[in-house]
């Protein structure tokens, strides 16, 4: 296989003909996540006939439409449940779910929780832009306190959902959160998550200049992208500062969103366990037959 070196070649391989450019707004982070995913898949060298994408409703959920692969664009919040079925029908598939913060942690929260708990062998790429973008900027469960949305015109009073933290608590095998402005760590992390057996979650903080930015004094794309740099911190740095830093330094990073790999464990995935169960039943039956004879 010829190794792909440029974005042009990458696009020719992974994009569905005639679909690009995207419907995404100017300055939106979704396309970046898609490209990172392409690079990760390219480096893994997987047969794209065996990579199946599923998505729900929302901006993120339009992504499979741009990918030259089998894709199931489903109902709002249900993509993970659909993906569970796809994987069950053929555990050889690599199943990737693109979802958004509203889709995954709002309407689809329960499906997310249980797929993570069951350790279903799929990769969920959740693009978190703090808002319901496609429907025009309504309040999302991940929206920071005080942020403005069409349905929170006086500022959000609900505490935001930390979905990565939740996934860790549920015992997902791989959990990581990244931004979109620095490519190399996320691509490496995507590779790890995709290869991981069991449930992996990759959360991406992605700017939404139109629905979120304009209402939250971040309408300027550059300013919006810079907000993420100023308000995030690598998990390792955060921990170090919290341990060794001065009070002033601690106060500075206290409210920043941490990025990095939060969990990387090797619990057996659902389908691994299911196979073991099937084999156990087989053995038992063979033994019983032997005893009869």
């Amino acid at each position: 296989m010829v190794e792909i070196k440029t974005a042009d070649e990458l696009n020719k391989k992974f994009l569905r003909e005639g679909m690009w450019p995207t419907i995404f707004c100017n300055g939106c982070g979704h396309g970046v996540v898609l490209e990172y995913t392409f690079w990760a898949l390219e480096e893994l060298g997987w047969d794209m006939d065996n990579v199946i994408f599923a998505s729900g409703i929302g901006c993120s959920s339009r992504l499979p439409g741009y990918i030259n692969a089998d894709g199931l664009h489903t109902t709002h919040g249900r993509a993970i449940a659909f993906a569970t079925g796809i994987k069950a029908a053929n555990p050889d598939f690599n199943v990737i779910v693109f979802t958004g913060d509203g889709d995954c942690s709002g309407i689809g929260g329960n499906h997310f929780i249980h797929a993570a708990r069951r350790n279903i062998d799929i990769t969920v790429i959740m693009i978190n832009n703090f808002i319901y973008g496609m429907t025009g900027g309504q309040l999302a469960p991940t929206a920071p306190l005080g942020s403005i949305a069409t349905t929170a015109p006086y500022g959000n009073i609900e505490h935001p959902f930390d979905i990565s933290n939740l996934a860790c608590a549920l015992g997902a095998n791989y959990v990581a959160r990244w931004g979109v402005s620095h490519p190399y760590q996320p691509i490496k992390s995507l590779k790890e998550g995709l290869q991981k057996k069991g449930f992996s979650l990759l959360e991406f903080l992605a700017p939404c200049p139109t629905a979120y930015g304009r209402r939250n004094k971040l309408g300027d794309i550059k300013k919006h992208w810079a907000w993420y740099d100023n308000n995030t911190i690598l998990k390792e740095d955060y921990e170090k500062i919290m341990k060794y830093g001065t009070e002033e330094e601690k106060a500075q990073v206290k409210d920043k969103i941490q990025l990095g790999v939060f969990q990387d464990i090797q619990k057996s995935g659902f389908f691994e366990s299911y196979e073991k169960l099937v084999n156990r039943l087989k053995e038992k039956e063979t033994k019983a037959k032997g005893a009869k004879k």
């Binding site: 974005a7 003909e17 396309g31």
Partner: protein, 85 residues
């Protein structure tokens, strides 16, 4: 060199903003969306770090280091605004 697919560009200028050596600028060209896609400055220190290529939300930038010969192939993907043919 850097190749820009003009009609894929939506004009966010993130590439210009993020270039570590400040090698990009808005061009004079107008694409069919009415935005000015970026271009390399005449005088630039581009070191082919590929950051612009990787963070372009619309996959419109391709960085081709001088040592790689560019194949003169047209992309299969036709830019028609996210709609099907």
């Amino acid at each position: 060199m850097i190749e820009f697919k003009d009609d894929w560009c939506k004009g966010c200028n993130i590439c210009i903003d993020r270039c570590p050596v400040n090698a990009l600028e808005e061009s004079d060209r107008l694409n069919k969306k009415g935005v000015r896609p970026p271009q390399l400055k005449k005088d630039n220190k581009c070191n082919y770090c590929r950051l612009c290529e990787l963070i372009c939300p619309d996959l419109a930038i391709t960085v081709i280091p001088e040592e790689i010969k560019k194949e003169d192939k047209k992309t299969l993907l036709s830019p028609i605004g996210g709609k099907t043919k």
